[in-house]
């Protein structure tokens, strides 16, 4: 039995790798995407274009502006001379944010009152606007503290000491890049397995396969192994790159990580085989894979948190293996989690894998007899 499975597996690999284009397609896109998306996918801002409308003659506005100039996040792009210009720079996206100092700004501070600065932001991407506002708040808070210290003002009765564990700098690459491990692994695994049986059906060689001494279970295993192996290799490669190229700290146990990757691959090939047995042509198999992939990426917590979704959508994500593997990868990488914190994730993915494999097996048998 083992020999037959190996033979089938070798044949599958030959089919996959004999053609130069299909070889390249297995290697180049994941590497290119890892690099491009690894750098592109970030919620951190830099060089945010800021325009200044300063009616104040005093020193405080000048000092605050120089604090903004000194930060990596902001870049002053324009000095405005009238109220009308504010609308122009914001609507035309020349600036994301406008700082507006009223005439009495410095005077009020010297009088011991609060000087008010107005921040106007382009909310067309309100997330970016909120993050920029957060950065601006921090700059102003630091400046306030400096001013208060200098003028011996009363200290606040209580202060917040905020610390972020696992990602002190709150660098969002640390969140996104481990996610790419899951993303690219499922794309390639699902596609290889989804096409495996459909390809034979379309070419008419499926019937030939059935008259060989292979048992259905052997065909299924032989068909799923290549996707499994390729997925494992690509996953490992991306993990390697995440550690050594992007320098994301891998703090937890490799065993816990790989156990997650293996159960994830199990569920991915289960779903891939299911699609492949249902589909009659490669076209349909591809469509099926696509139709599964797109929602499972978008609703996995890859970019936007699952906890923000409505209750019913959150329930739907329980069927999505991406959801679990992302938790495992991120926890192991950043949190240094071991298996004991993650067992429920492993169980959920294994259940999805086993059920989809069983369904694939049943459908396959039905097609055979």
């Amino acid at each position: 039995m083992l020999r037959r499975i190996i033979a089938l597996c070798i044949k599958e690999f030959i089919v996959l790798l004999k053609n130069r284009k299909s070889r390249l397609v297995l290697i180049i896109p994941p590497v290119a995407q890892l690099i491009v998306f690894g750098y592109a996918a970030t919620f951190d801002l830099k060089d945010v274009a800021v325009a200044i409308y300063n009616k104040d003659q005093g020193e405080f506005s000048r000092q605050l502006i120089s604090h903004f100039k000194g930060s990596d996040v902001f870049k002053i792009v324009a000095d405005l001379n009238s109220e009308n210009e504010i609308a122009t720079v914001l609507t035309l996206k020349k600036a994301l944010m406008v700082l507006h100092f009223p005439q009495d700004f410095s005077r009020n501070i010297l009088k011991g009152q609060s000087g008010q600065v107005q921040l106007l932001l382009d909310g067309r991407n309100s997330n970016t606007a909120l993050i920029a506002l957060n950065y601006a708040n921090t700059i102003v808070a630091d400046f306030n503290k400096a001013v208060a210290d200098r003028y011996g003002a009363k200290v606040f009765p209580a202060t917040l000491k905020v610390r972020s564990w696992f990602n002190e700098q709150l660098d969002s690459h640390w969140f996104i890049i481990p996610g790419i491990v899951g993303l690219l692994t499922i794309v390639v695994t699902l596609e290889v397995t989804a096409l495996s049986i459909a390809k034979e059906k379309e070419a008419g060689t499926f019937d030939q396969l059935l008259v060989t001494p292979f048992k259905p279970i052997e065909i299924l295993i032989g068909k799923s192994l290549p996707g499994f192996i390729i997925g494992l290799l690509e996953g490992s490669f991306i993990i390697f790159m995440a550690c050594f190229w992007f320098e994301i700290p891998l703090r937890g146990s490799i065993v816990a990580l790989y156990f997650g990757l293996l159960t994830f691959l199990l569920s991915a090939i289960g779903i891939g085989l299911m699609i492949s047995t249902i589909a009659l042509t490669q076209q349909q198999a591809l469509m099926g894979a696509f139709m599964f992939l797109v929602p499972s990426v978008v609703l996995s917590g890859f970019a936007t948190p699952i906890s923000n979704m409505p209750e019913i959508v959150q329930k739907m994500t329980l069927l999505n293996p991406m959801r679990y593997v992302l938790i495992i990868i991120r926890s192991v990488f950043l949190q240094g989690a071991g298996m004991e914190l993650l067992w429920s994730q492993y169980v959920a993915m294994s259940i999805i894998g086993i059920i989809s494999l069983l369904i694939a097996g049943m459908l396959f048998k039905k097609r055979v007899y």
């Binding site: 053609n19 284009k21 397609v25 896109p29 491009v36 996918a41 951190d44 801002l45 060089d47 405080f60 605050l64 609507t91 996206k93 994301l96 009152q113 609060s114 107005q118 932001l121 909310g123 067309r124 991407n125 997330n127 970016t128 606007a129 909120l130 601006a136 708040n137 808070a141 306030n144 001013v147 208060a148 003002a153 009363k154 606040f156 009765p157 209580a158 000491k161 972020s164 564990w165 696992f166 990602n167 002190e168 969140f175 596609e191 096409l195 390809k199 490669q282 076209q283 894979a289 696509f290 978008v298 609703l299 970019a303 936007t304 948190p305 906890s307 979704m309 959508v313 949190q335 989690a337």
Partner: protein
């Protein structure tokens, strides 16, 4: 070339293609049903607005002061507080992802408050989801500031913050992330649909062997391409219209621009999406390759590089250059402006020019590639 006979052939091709579409409901399904379903799922599913975020609150020793401080967490819709008697238990919950972080009020908090020194309040966040952590940290600061001004009023302390920020967020005052995500999603979904529709059609023609039959007729290659583009363009625009309808009436995204501009920009974008689909199916002989390429050059770039969630200006420069060949980038920009800000000529014309340029280049590539194939 005789233009009137060319027109006649074209008419025939379009008629044939239309009949095919009507008889095979799968392409109508892809054009209408799919974008509607995807937009509804994603529109509900993709949100950056957190609500009822589980947050731990550690109170080592109950006191009047501690209670007054944490009341802010109960008043806000943003938080769902959970009380812990000591930091150990809160830490455990944090490791288990039950809470995103915790506020730690030590037993000497009331004493420190009165001492004249600043009483420290510890905030510990799970930084794994950095974006979420930043937003939560902002909200905690908000609770703290609100408490601070109430407390100093109460105790008649004269604390004045030197500089106060008054902020206003234009075009989306309620800071509803759906307002910008849904227009962005339309661009992502239409990239997908456009590519899928056309790559399906040409492949089908080859699969059934009817392409060869077409080739022996007097039809020119140009006419074949135009004959394919027009019906699927109309179909794709139908899906587009449906998506806009869903955005406005189901997701309540304001639409402040004009439909004429929307129509013009969508047409240009649809042409690039269809052209991309045609190129994919012409360039790749095997379905496996076509499939990989379709995902690699349509969905993922539209998702990651269009500026729909991730800000393009914050990307490293070489990546910013790459985003210029992602058509969705221009369309996202146009859509977000048309929906939220209105008709802004400069933004519209700049992005439309890029789309136009892309469409021209893509069709030139098609022209070149398909010649090779047919002769």
């Amino acid at each position: 070339m005789d233009t009137s006979s060319s027109f006649m052939r074209l008419k025939g091709l379009i008629k044939k293609e239309t009949i095919q579409i009507i008889r095979d409901p799968s392409s109508i399904g892809i054009a209408f049903f799919l974008p509607a379903v995807l937009l509804i799922i994603f529109g509900y599913g993709v949100s950056l607005d957190a609500e009822h975020v589980p947050i731990g609150i550690v109170i080592e020793k109950p006191s009047h002061e501690a209670t007054s401080f944490i009341s802010g967490f109960y008043e806000s819709d943003f938080f769902r507080p959970k009380i812990y008697p000591d930091a150990k238990k809160a830490q455990y919950s944090l490791m288990n992802r039950e809470i995103i972080g915790f506020v730690w009020i030590k037993s000497d908090f009331p004493k420190n408050l009165l001492s004249g020194e600043s009483a420290p309040i510890g905030v510990i966040l799970n930084g794994v989801d950095a974006n979420q952590a930043k937003i939560v940290s902002g909200y905690i600061t908000g609770v703290w500031m609100k408490w601070l001004s109430a407390y100093s009023k109460d105790k008649a302390l004269s604390i004045k913050v030197p500089i106060e920020i008054k902020h206003r967020i234009w075009f989306n005052a309620a800071v509803r992330s759906r307002n910008f995500l849904v227009p962005g999603l339309i661009a992502v979904i239409m990239t997908l649909i456009g590519g899928m529709l056309t790559s399906l059609v040409v492949a089908r023609e080859w699969e059934r062997g009817t392409m060869e039959a077409l080739l022996v007729t007097p039809v020119r290659i140009k006419e074949v391409i135009i004959g394919k583009v027009i019906p699927y363009f109309i179909l794709g625009m139908g899906g587009m219209a449906l998506s806009v309808f869903i955005a406005i009436y189901i997701f309540d995204v304001p639409f402040r621009g004009s439909f004429l501009w929307l129509f013009l920009a969508s047409s240009l974008f649809m042409l690039t999406a269809i052209a991309l689909g045609l190129i994919i199916s012409i360039a790749s002989e095997s379905q496996f390759v076509a499939g990989q390429i379709a995902i690699v050059i349509t969905f993922l770039p539209a998702f990651m590089l269009s500026g729909f969630v991730f800000d393009i200006n914050s990307m490293p420069l070489p990546i910013q250059w790459i985003t210029h060949i992602v058509a969705a980038r221009y369309f996202v920009s146009i859509l977000q402006s048309l929906f939220l800000a209105g008709d802004i000529w400069e933004i519209f014309i700049k992005n439309c020019m890029w789309l136009f340029l892309m469409a021209v280049v893509l069709f030139l590539i098609i022209k070149k590639k398909s010649h090779k194939r047919l002769i």
